[in-house]
């Protein structure tokens, strides 16, 4: 079955620093979703990447899809305390019936 592996599992960065979170799939990716979750709450949709080489940005968050490597990266520029939370990547399962998710990356931003 397809699996999504996220790295790192957690990270702490100082406010203003840049950071990157990676998501690697065990199977070919036909689309990749990024979500953010605040502790104890639901998931908020950030962006979706569908084509190899595609790059999207939302405020200071940029995500890129590299289909050849079956990988996506999420980059945050000049991190702020509001960026803190859990970032999850998601992709359609092999049966094409529902999204599966990575285990998440917990981001803490210290001021």
């Amino acid at each position: 079955s397809q699996e999504l592996e996220q790295s790192p599992q957690s990270l702490i960065v100082q406010e203003g620093k840049n950071l990157t979170i990676n998501c690697t799939s065990s199977k070919t990716l036909y689309g990749l979703y990024w979500y953010k979750q605040k502790y104890g709450e639901g998931l908020i949709f950030l962006m979706m990447l569908q084509k190899g080489g595609e790059e999207k940005s939302h405020e200071k968050i940029t995500a890129k899809l590299d289909e050849k490597k079956q990988q996506s990266s999420l980059h945050i520029t000049a991190s702020q305390p509001s960026h803190a939370g859990i970032y999850l990547c998601g992709a359609m399962n092999q049966a094409g019936t529902a999204l599966i998710f990575g285990k998440g990356t917990t981001l803490s931003v210290s001021s």
Binding site: G40, G42, L43, F45, M48, L88, G96, T97, L99, F101
Partner: protein, 115 residues
């Protein structure tokens, strides 16, 4: 603002009780999903539904059932709650079963504790 609403944020139930978790969406979405989220295991799909009265098993359906009598409502039922069902339960909906530019819309979650 479009919404997926889960009826309870926190719930404490006793072992053996029958538990109902309710989820309502106001977006006229056909597709609804139930996940549970546990530390170290991430989100795991329990059940999903593409239409009224339709249901499909996800990856971990054991110990759960669902009901979809109306398009906007998808209920998760724990027939006889057990302590290993203590978890965060997340409901989601989408306008398309597979590829969608906007992903799923999630509810705020129900943190269920079974004692």
């Amino acid at each position: 603002d479009v919404k997926v609403t889960q009826s309870s944020r926190y719930l404490v139930k006793r072992t053996g009780e029958k538990v109902f978790l309710e989820c309502v969406q106001d977006m006229d979405h056909e597709n609804m999903f139930w996940y549970r989220q546990d530390p170290g295991l991430g989100l795991r799909l329990i059940y999903f539904s593409y239409d009224v009265k339709m249901k499909e098993k996800g990856d971990i359906p054991e110990g759960y059932s669902v009901s979809r009598e109306k398009k906007e409502r998808f209920s998760l039922i724990l027939e006889s709650a057990s302590t290993n069902q203590t978890s965060m339960y997340l409901c989601a909906s989408s306008s398309h079963p597979t590829v969608t530019n906007y992903g799923y819309t999630f509810g705020s979650g129900t943190r269920l504790t079974v004692v």
